[in-house]
Amino acid sequence: MLNPLALVSEGADACADAHVADACVPDAHVADTCVPAAHVPGTAAPLLELREYSLRLRRDGTGLLDKVSFRLGTGEIVGLIGESGCGKTLLALSLIRLLEPNLFTVAGQVFWRGEDILAWPEKRLISWRGKELAMIFQEPMTSLNPVWRVGAQVAEAIRLHQPVGVKEAASLACQALRQAAVAAPERLMRQYPHELSGGLRQRVMLAIAMANRPRLILADEPTTALDVSIQAQILELMLRLREETGASFLLITHDLAVVAEVCDRALVMYAGRVVEAAATRDLLDTPRHWYTRGLLASLPGLDGEGRLPVIPGAVPAPAQYNWRGCGFAGRCRRALPRCGREPPPWSDVGAGHWVRCHAPA
C-alpha cells in the first residue's frame, strides 16, 4: 500500500463497528447497503461520516442520492469521482447544507465529529459553515462578488467567525492570501475580482476557505476551469495547506489524473450512489467496478494511439436513475440479467477496497 492513511483495518466487520452498528440492522436487505468503512489509523473517530445519506426532491420524490455512506478522517484527501450528473456537486452542497431545505428531503445521518448535523439548528450551522467546514467552487470567475475588493471578501470570512476588528481582520486576510501563495497580497487586497486571472481568483477562494483554518474543505472541481499548469499549482497548494493546517479535503473531480496526484482515497459515484471506494493506487491500478474501468479506459494516453474506448450512453437524468438494480446496468457491457433488478451489495474485495457490483472485475 502506498498510502497508509487509506488502509482499512476492519474490512467486512464494518457493520459490527461501534459507529455503524445502529445503522446496520443484521437484515439481509439493509445489510446490502452497509458502509464501506475506511478507518484512518490514529483517528479514533472520523471527522465526517455519512450513513445511508439519501436526498430526494420534495416536490415529486425524485431520488438524487441513495444511501451514500463513507468516512473521512482528519488530514485525509478523498477524491469523489464520476461523470457529470452523478450527484457529486449535489452531495457537497447538501453536506454544507446550502441546498434550499424547502426543496429537498434528506434521510440517513451525517456525523461531524460524532454529532449528527442534520439535527443542528440553523444558528449552529451558520457558526459551523465557513469556520469548520469550507467550500471552494468550480467557477472561480463568478464565485467572487464583482463589486467588493478582494481584501474585503477575505476579511469578511474572518470577521464572521473571529472576534477581531476591521484592521486585524485585514491583516489576517493578508496573511491568508500570502498562505494561498499569492505573490503580492497587499496589492491584491485592493483589487477587484475582474482584475484577476482565473488561477488567482481560485487562490483567493482558497484563501477565503482557509481563512478560519477549517477542518474540512469541500473542493468542487477547483481546477476544472483552469489551464493545466495553473491546475498543478492549485493542487500543490492544497497539499501544502494540508501539511500546514492538517485540514482534510473532499475533492470532487472528474479528472482521474488529479485524483492520482493528490488523493489518498477515492470514491466513485454513479447515478446518485457510491459504487466503489478504495485507496487511490488500488483504485487506479485494479478498478473492480465496470464503471470505474470504463472511466479509466477513456483516459487519453500521451502516445495518442488508437481510438479512445468510451462508455456507451450517458448518465441518466435523476428521474431515470435505476435504483431497483445497479444504476449502471443499462450501460454496462457485462451486465447480468439480475443487475437490472437487484441492487448489488457492498462487497469487500480486499485491503479496504469496496465495490458494489454483482460481478466485479
Binding site: 454544507i96 446550502l98 451558520i126 457558526s127 459551523w128 459553515r129 465557513g130 469556520k131 469550507a134 467550500m135 467552487f137 467557477e139 463568478t142 464565485s143 467572487l144 462578488n145 464583482p146 463589486v147 467588493w148 475588493r149 469578511e156 470570512a157 464572521l160 467567525h161 477587484y192 475582474h194 482584475e195 477562494m205 477565503i208
Partner: protein
Amino acid sequence: MARYLLRRVLWGMLTLFLAVTLTFLILRVMPSDPVSVMVDSRMTRGDIEALTREFGLDMPLTTQYARYLANLCRGQLGISFATRQPVSVLLAERLPWTFLLNLSALTLALALGVWLGQAAAKRRDTWLDWLIHLLAALGGSIFVPSLGLALLYLLGVKFPLLPIGGTHTPGVVGLAYAADVARHLLLPTAVLVLVTWPHYALHMRASLLEILRADYLRTARSKGMRESRALWRHGVRNALIPTVNISGLLLGSLSGGSILAETIFSYPGVGRLIYEAVGRLDYPVLQGAFLTLAAIVILLGILTDLLYICLEPRIRLGAER
C-alpha cells in the same frame, strides 16, 4: 475618466441647446398671442404696439431667436411679460423648493422601492410578492392629479391634518420652521413617491432575482453568513447598480409629475411657475423654466452616471483604459 466626463458634459450641452430651441419654437407656433393676454380694454392701439415692440414680438422669428440665444449666452433669461421681474429672480425664488420636493421624493421612492423590491424578490411567488406587484401596478398607473386631489381632500379638507398649500407658514422660525416645512412638503412628496417607487421596486426585484442564483451569493452563504445579511451585502448591494441607474430616466417623468403636484398643492416651485406662466403666455418665464428643468435633468443624469461608476468597479477600469 476625465475624458468620459468631458464627453458626457458636451453631449449634455448639445441636448440642452436642442431643448432650448424646441421650447422656443413650440411657444411661437402656439395659436394665441401673448400681447392679447396682457391687453386691457383701456389700452389704445398705440399702447398695444408699444407693448409688442417692447418685448420684441414685432421682429421676425429668426431675429427673436438670435436675440434670445445671445442673451442666454450672457446669462440673461429675460424679463417676465406678466410681472416685469427678471426671470432669473423668479426662478431663484422657486428653485430651492422644487429641489427640496424632488430630492425628497426621489430619495424616499428609492428607499421604499429598494425595500419593497428586495422583500418581493426574497419571498417571490408568495402573497407578499403579489401584493407588492399589485401596489406597484397601481402606483405606476395612477394619474398624479387624481391622487393629489384625493389626498388633498382627505387630509387637507375632510380631516384637516395637513396644510393644503404653500411651503411654510409665515413667521415661524427655528426648529418649528423645519417641522412646518416638512408638514407642507408631506403631501406633494407623498404623491410623487407613490408614483415613482414602483419603478425602483420592480427593477430591484428583477435584479435581485437574478443575483439570488449568482455564484458569489453562494460563496457568501458558504462563509457562514446569515441569509438576510448575505442578501443585503452581496445581493441588494449589487442589485442597486441597475436600480440606481434608472434614476436618470425617472428624473424626466418626475419633473413632469412635479409640475402637476406643485400645481395641485399650490407649492410655489418651478412647476407651479410653469403652470402660471402658461396661463399668461409668459414666454420668457416658460423658456427660462424649461431651460432650468432641462439643465437639472441633464445634470442629475450625469451625476447618476458618476454614481453608477462609483458603485460598479468594473466600469471604472473600462473608462481608464
